[in-house]
Symmetry: C2
């Protein structure tokens, strides 16, 4: 099957074509302008590629309630022009193929559960920490939506005593995105994360905040795998630091080999690497096609 | 159908008999001694009542992994005699009927989803805060286990600045149970919760900690209903305080009527009141019988 996928972000839209098994045969990137600029270019691309289904992993918040009249639209984003965009309907009507939509991070966790590091898990978590922080959740064998969809990138965490940095989240004084995203790192230390590699105190503090969030994901979801990625986690020295602090914070309370001698294989980067999001989006398209075929 | 239920706690075991619709026809309570003392009395009770199925909502941690050789046993509890107790097997062999086992809080959330305040929800959370703190989670239409089972009563939270109370959790410096359970209240303020009713500062601080945890449950699970109960929440003035602080902490980030004008109907006490746990346990028995009958 020829399946299209979109990893729709605030700065760029990654479009790709692939198959059920996770192979990618083509890829194109469009900068995110207004919907009027951006959508027709993507539609043209997928028409040319003759896709039989399309999956979209999209920045949120999204209306994913199938019973809602606004199902399939972007809701309250500050990105100019995109609030209220009926992205699912636009592509469904333009392409006349089954279209699946979910959050970008739910797409990524789906890719990892089906084809990556969380294969065979019925419950897994994917945290991306970069420009923002977002969490995709696969729970009891399905992507989690509930009332809206998880927003666990904004989990409230405790400040390190003495840390008076105001944070970068306009909503929350003490959330993961506000204290530990890429922009937070840059604002706190005065230069981009990539230039701070050698400064131990930077990564100690970063790991402290990440580990609080990860510990809470473990306590809340009891995942069989925790996947961390995004621009900040490209500083891969963070993996070891986060694992050590998670162990310290949980302090042996949850007893399972995954949290003890197998911790290195439990908190991991995505098996699909930087392709988790786009391969996951293609899987959203595959699932939409399967739903349509009963 | 005549179904037995056990709400198995560290201090007492509530045993009851009821039907599929949530009606209770009999109830008996045994103080929790050693397994040798306690189990035979419960077995005798359910034999006399001629139950056709049994459900157990049990203190944990439990092994709920159906593929594990230890499935159905209590694992690392400090309660004398109970660590390693194969509670599921004991009752199944003694009664020769289908037996379902889950955590006490998962039992309670099941009761609420099927017959209480969370009816028709596919995702809901039940927090009990009393002697300890425990969270039952129903996610995507099933009780959540994942790797072990959620332990979100120990969610790590941020301290109110200036709060130097050491907490009562032997594992975590800053977790919900440690800072806000009944024993924490009593140790912090020098007398039991029930005697502190008139002291505003007690409930302000309590609501601050509870609201952090509840906000994080909302961000993490995106539940359609949040149910709060347990000894501490019998101080029902807490509901209003917790709702107000959740609204303040989330600060409009998650947009949904449930979190805005409908908040009073979103963060609620259990529809089944103090019977949520035992009625939920009976539902665990019903589900076990249904699984057995295909």
């Amino acid at each position: 099957m020829v399946i299209g996928g979109i990893e729709a972000g605030g700065t760029k839209m990654v479009c790709a074509v692939g198959d059920e098994a996770g192979n990618l045969s083509d890829r194109m990137t469009v900068l995110t302008g207004t919907p009027e600029d951006t959508l027709p270019r993507m539609i043209r691309y997928f028409k040319e590629k003759k896709v039989e289904a399309l999956g979209i992993g999209c920045f949120g918040p999204l209306d994913l309630d199938r019973k809602s009249p606004g199902y399939g639209s972007i809701t309250s984003t500050p990105k100019p022009g995109w609030a209220g965009c009926e992205i699912l309907k636009v592509f469904r009507e333009a392409l006349s193929v089954p279209v699946g939509l979910d959050t970008d991070v739910n797409g990524a966790v789906l890719g990892e559960v089906l084809l990556g590091a969380a294969k065979d898990c019925d419950t897994a978590v994917y945290l991306t920490i970069g420009t923002g922080a977002g969490v995709g959740v696969y729970c009891n064998g399905a992507l989690l939506h509930g009332l809206v969809h998880p927003e666990a990138g904004h989990l409230l965490i405790g400040r390190k005593s003495g840390d008076s940095f105001p944070g970068v989240c306009p909503f929350h004084e003490n959330c993961l995105e506000g204290l530990a995203s890429g922009p937070a790192l840059e604002k706190r230390w005065g230069r981009p994360a990539a230039e701070l590699f050698a400064r131990e105190e930077v990564w100690e503090l970063e790991a402290y905040y990440l580990a609080q969030a990860v510990s809470n994901y473990i306590l809340a979801y009891s995942p069989q795998k925790v996947i961390l990625w995004g621009g900040v986690m490209h500083q891969t020295q963070l993996f070891g630091l986060v694992r050590a602090k998670v162990r310290e914070l949980l302090n042996g309370y949850v007893r399972h080999p995954a949290l003890e001698e197998e911790l290195d294989g439990y908190i991991v980067p995505p098996g699909l690497g930087d392709n988790a999001g786009i391969i996951g989006a293609i899987q959203l398209g595959r699932l939409a096609a399967e739903r349509m075929n009963g």
